[in-house]
Assembly symmetry: C2
Homo-oligomer: 325 residues x 2
């Protein structure tokens, strides 16, 4: 059994080893840049941990794990073009540091690279790993499409939102766990339990993200607090606030949603945040997050390996829920 720290170290080292110093440099350099930005490497870590539940040979899951991390970073790269985001993890995004065309094309070749790593799965697991990966990758694009469409709609309800984040965020965590468990030798039932564990962790994780954007600490969160409020992003908090606000609260919320005066940014963040508190949506969101977290843990319970082996996965789940960044 490997600890969370050992696995994170292993995967970081393996990712650093990949040689992107290939021609044409203009195509491959941005890939090294994006992967070098760091990040928590949650997806490949989940793959190796899930494999480790059933096998001591986690090395055989390293390539597909890296494939998932490359794919995840590819989606960030293309999402940043679509969102016109200039900064990611404190550094300029690819389309900002280079240009849109570079970001499109480097992203495309990154997606191919992710398949090249997935293709190095053990031969007897290749077909189903590949199929689940493609299905998951399509779902992530579907989630991104819904996310974009929601920006232009006023009547998004909370179930639609949860389905969107299931697609955009949760399915990749589920797939990471399922693929790792298959490679480790898990049976169908355990593999599915781990997939479901990943889905619920993913949903809780995204709700935590929505909360941190409003109630987090600027320094540890690493992003500007209130960014979602400023751009009227349809987060779980805002959707529930629109649903729950009546009378004067509803009027005030609408007033701020139609206000994009930059000089009133501070005022807007402060007022919408206190509306959230008055309307009780912070608690609603925290409860929902807790609900998914509990469901996740229950799924993990049922996986047919010893309690001791599940320790590291449970620790990681806690880490993600109680994180400040």
């Amino acid at each position: 059994m490997n600890t969370f720290e050992e696995i994170t170290q292993l995967i970081s080292t393996e990712i650093e080893k990949i040689d992107w110093n290939k021609r044409p440099h203009g195509l491959y350099e941005p890939i090294g840049y994006v992967l070098g930005m760091g990040g928590k490497r949650i997806r490949p870590v989940l793959t190796l941990m899930a494999c480790n539940l059933f096998s001591d040979n986690i090395q055989q899951a390293v390539s597909p794990a890296i494939g998932l991390e490359i794919f995840h970073n590819f989606t960030l790269l293309h999402d940043d073009i679509m969102d016109k985001a200039d900064v990611r993890r404190g550094q300029p995004t690819v389309h900002k540091k280079w240009d849109d065309n570079t970001a499109i094309l480097s992203g495309d070749v990154m997606q191919i690279a992710s398949y090249q790593f997935i293709a190095q799965s053990p031969a007897n697991q290749l077909k189903r790993t590949l199929d689940l990966f493609s299905k998951t990758a399509s779902e992530i694009c579907e989630g991104q499409q819904y996310d974009v469409e929601f920006e232009h709609r006023d009547n998004v309800n909370d179930n639609e939102y949860l389905e969107m984040i299931r697609l955009k965020t949760a399915v990749l965590l589920g797939a990471a766990l399922k693929i790792g468990s298959w490679i480790g030798g898990a049976g169908d039932k355990d593999a599915q339990l781990l997939y479901d564990f990943g889905i619920y962790i993913g949903l809780a994780f995204q709700l935590k993200d929505d909360l941190l954007d409003v109630y987090g600490d600027e320094v540890t969160f690493g992003k500007r607090i209130g960014g979602d409020i400023l751009c009227n992003k349809k987060t779980y908090l805002l959707i529930r606030a629109i649903e729950n606000a009546k009378g004067q609260d509803a009027q005030e919320l609408q007033k701020w949603l139609t206000n994009s005066d930059e000089e009133l940014s501070f005022e807007k963040i402060k007022s919408v945040t206190s509306l959230f508190s008055n309307l009780g949506v912070r608690e609603i969101c925290e409860d929902k997050m807790q609900f998914f977290y509990t469901k996740a843990v229950a799924k993990l319970e049922k996986v047919s390996v010893s309690e001791n082996k599940k320790k590291e996965l449970r620790k990681l789940a806690e880490k993600l829920m109680f994180r400040m960044e």
Copy 2:
């Protein structure tokens, strides 16, 4: 043995059968639109023909053949964003009909779809088909990157140009043939001969395209004649013209290359075209095309199946060389 016409019909029918009426429509509709624009379906036809050289069961190669066609159309979709091209096959391009973000994201999911079709290759051919496909896909991105970089360079030589079109155009024809032959049961030697046949046909095909853009007939070519000249596209003709022009010719060519006055468009096309003729680069390009075509035919000669079976592939190669569009 199936004729070229039968195979084209089969693949068109199969492509039309694919259901893109999936949610979210905003993501999948553009894929149906792009694939519905038509085109010659050369790549999947090559796959089925190569398979047919060695087997009567071409049905088993249909899915990977479709995967190659979807991938090809995906590259057109993303290239059109990068080139800011508004029209393709007489219809508005996706980023024009929808917007850039839609074109990026639909392209991404198209690339995944191409892998989903490749993944339906016969199990015993999956790994090497997948690996060749990924290698080829990366090479196509590399070719596109070189193409973009060449636009900002004045000193591109003909070998660099040929390497660029090998990557951007020829390798996919080679891979289409190799994959089809593998699935049909070809040995390594025949598969490689067919790959090389595809490379040479691809190089000749692109030179033909360069020629058609200058000397083609507007109506049958379906594009505006002289488009490459107007935007100073570094085609084989222009590269050889820059290389060969001396004295007054060189001065006149440079004058037109730095002239982007739209009112002089007609004049520019006429003058550069006659410079090409004076400098003999039309013949140089035609000779080079013929050179590759001859090499291609010689590779096909050596494939160890009866002459009669090669008839359809030879016919297709001729069609591509002597086409007017």
